[in-house]
């Protein structure tokens, strides 16, 4: 794909997302669109650490939940009235979540690969447990309410949709900037071979932590908007392992490590998941969902975007965009990847 085509594609998607609520006005459709956007944002922010650096986190809902709680508590503490003003507080929530993520990330990132995956699961449980136990702050298991905006049923999801869209655009933009920066190249190098990256002078520790913290801050804002739209937050809906898993699965489906992959994966899977649950028997839903996943991993192990990239490449090997192609390396391609990183550094 040429650069111009790509930009046109992104613009098209953006315009379509902006117009969506004007065309599809049904609140049911919008509520599904909101959940979809939430996953687009989560998968994209997950991608900054999981895709670029190859550090698979299954704990993104820890920060999603933290953001939700921080938002509810802040609105209450400053007596912010329901309506649009709460959205103005979102950047603060993002920063707050990011700050909290620093020590957590520092501890978690002392591990790699499988241990890291597990530690992120533990992280999620810690946040959930804190929400349950710090009763005087969080309301404990009973949960915490948001101020209720006085919007009609027909209008209700629109403000949330646009707020979420804003954060999603920010997430993708941040991912893009990170990708194009030295940080991004460093993260790719870490994914390919962390020891080697360190040897050639990539400050791996601070790069990984930066990715972790950025990703957490974005997830915090997304969680805040979602919790506000639900109007009620409690430990189980704030920190839900299924949300963590969903975000990671969507990123993988589309192609972890690419910019468009997580977006595409979420656009496909989030509505499918919601609709499937609505129309299909619960047990069958689980079986189908599981089977779908096995099929994806089996047939498109590197995700949709990298697989398409391969197709295009095999057709015209001349026009390879080295930076766009960065799916997971498969056997026998290690050298090609090294070349890629070196090419990137040279740029």
């Amino acid at each position: 794909m040429t650069r111009r085509l790509r930009i046109a594609g992104w613009l098209l998607v953006l315009v379509a997302s902006l117009l969506f609520p004007l065309v599809f006005t049904n609140p049911a459709t919008l509520s599904i669109a909101l959940v979809t956007l939430m996953y687009v944002g989560l998968a994209s922010s997950w991608n900054i650490l999981g895709g670029f650096a190859g550090y698979i986190s299954l704990g993104i809902s820890a920060f999603f939940g933290f953001g939700g709680y921080a938002f509810a508590i802040t609105l209450h503490a400053f007596n912010v009235q329901a309506g649009y003003t709460p959205f103005a507080w979102l950047p603060l929530i993002g920063v707050l979540t990011a700050v909290v993520a620093i020590p957590l990330g520092w501890a978690a990132l002392r591990t790699r690969q499988a241990v890291f995956v597990t530690v992120t699961i533990a992280l999620m449980l810690v946040i959930q447990l804190s929400a349950e136990n710090l009763v005087s702050i969080t309301g404990g298991a009973t949960g915490y309410g948001f101020p209720i905006p006085n919007w009609s049923a027909a209008f209700y999801y629109k403000p949330f949709y646009y707020a979420m869209l804003t954060v999603v655009v920010v997430s993708i933009a941040v991912a893009y900037v990170v990708r194009r920066s030295g940080l991004g190249l460093g993260l790719l190098a870490i994914r390919d071979d962390e020891d080697k990256a360190e040897a050639i002078g990539v400050p791996t520790k601070s790069y990984k932590l930066a990715a972790f913290v950025i990703s957490a801050g974005l997830a915090g804002m997304i969680g805040a908007i979602f919790a506000y739209s639900v109007l009620y937050i409690y430990p189980q809906n704030a920190v839900d392992p299924l949300i963590s898993m969903g975000a990671a699965l969507m990123a993988f489906l589309g192609g972890a490590g690419t910019l468009a992959g997580p977006v595409l994966g979420a656009l496909i899977l989030a509505p499918a998941q919601t609709e499937l649950s609505y129309y299909v028997n619960g047990q069958l839903y689980l079986i189908l969902y599981g089977a779908l996943f096995l099929a994806i991993v089996r047939l498109l192990p590197r995700g949709i975007i990298p697989s398409i990239g391969d197709q295009l490449r095999s057709r015209s090997s001349r026009h390879v965009d080295l930076l766009e192609h960065d799916g997971h390396h498969v056997e026998g391609r290690v050298d090609a990847d090294d070349v890629k990183v070196m090419e990137g550094v040279r740029e």
Binding site: L58, L129, N133, L286, I287, Y289, G290, F293, H328
Partner: protein, 292 residues
């Protein structure tokens, strides 16, 4: 603080730790041999619990006796799952294995829910509540049997790993998958068998879990977090480490439950994890491995 209570909780924690060790060791084994994080391991435990439950409820076979049926069946199921879904994973298998095993777990939950329903059940044998007293501490038979079963199976596994050719191949695979392949070990076969063994251990763990707890197909969510943390503390790929870590961790938790409070015991569980990560990221017993 009541001394008897403390002693009681320690004994209980030790026995329960042995049972958790049985479940956690399978998880460590799969990771060690196959580089697969099996988040579906606890779903296999629940599947094992349901098998024992059905055999007990309909054919009145004692859950300890029915292990001779459930363990081989789960062994085959485990091998089948490995060959069908995990064998083809090559590079990045640690990451992808999370997705694949998660999908398997959802499938298992769905199938169990479809056939067995979602009501909570428990394997209630007539000796479930019998206990005896030693020095003022009531020892519950079922916990004791569970612990003994765990110790027995762990012993057998150790024998298998240390004294047989298969065990040698398996340990070689744990140390270095590629090198093992180079020296002529059929890594694919070893992996499938190892997964089968882990599934069989899960079946045994499941029978015990089903006697001690009420469960339904969704119970695997509750279990997997605990098991994963135990194996992190145990050094991830070490079977022995997993077993010892679960003894330590569960005892620690049970004791804290009685001396502070159960809610804060959970907290300190994670604090323990944090401390271990900071001080010794390779776990209590971890050998220095690539990923630690």
């Amino acid at each position: 603080m009541n001394g008897g209570l403390l002693l009681g909780a320690s004994v209980l924690g030790l026995l329960l730790g042995g049972i958790y060790g049985l479940m956690a060791s399978g998880l460590a084994l799969t990771f060690g041999v196959m580089r697969v994080i099996n988040v579906g391991h606890s779903a296999l435990v629940i599947a094992g619990a349901y098998m024992s439950y059905e055999l007990f409820a309909h054919l009145h076979i004692d859950p300890f006796v029915s292990l001779v049926i459930t363990m081989p069946v789960m062994f085959l199921i485990g091998m089948g799952l490995e060959m069908a879904f995990l064998q083809h994973l090559r590079e990045d298998r640690e990451q992808f294995s999370v997705l694949v095993t998660w999908a398997i777990a959802l499938g298992v939950e769905g199938v169990l829910g479809y056939f067995c329903g979602t009501d909570l059940v428990q394997i209630s044998t007539n000796y479930a509540n019998s206990s005896f007293s030693i020095g003022g501490v009531q020892i519950v038979y079922i916990y004791l049997y569970g612990f003994l079963l765990g110790a027995l199976l762990m012993g057998l596994l150790a024998l298998l790993l240390r004294r047989t050719t298969f065990g040698w191949s398996l340990r070689a695979t744990v140390l270095n998958r590629q090198a093992a392949q180079l020296i002529g070990i059929d890594v694919a076969k070893v992996s499938a068998i190892a997964f089968g063994i882990a599934a069989a251990m899960a079946a045994a763990g499941g029978a015990l879990y089903g006697m001690l707890n009420t469960f339904n197909p969704g119970s695997w969510y509750d279990l997997i977090g605990d098991l994963l943390i135990i194996i992190v503390l145990g050094g991830f790929s070490s079977v022995r480490g997993a077993f010892i870590a679960s003894l330590v961790v569960i005892m620690f938790q049970e004791i804290l439950s009685v001396i502070i409070s159960p809610t804060w015991a959970d907290w300190s569980f994670f604090m323990l994890l944090a401390i271990v990560l900071i001080v010794r990221p390779s776990g209590f017993f971890g050998v220095k491995t690539r990923e630690a």
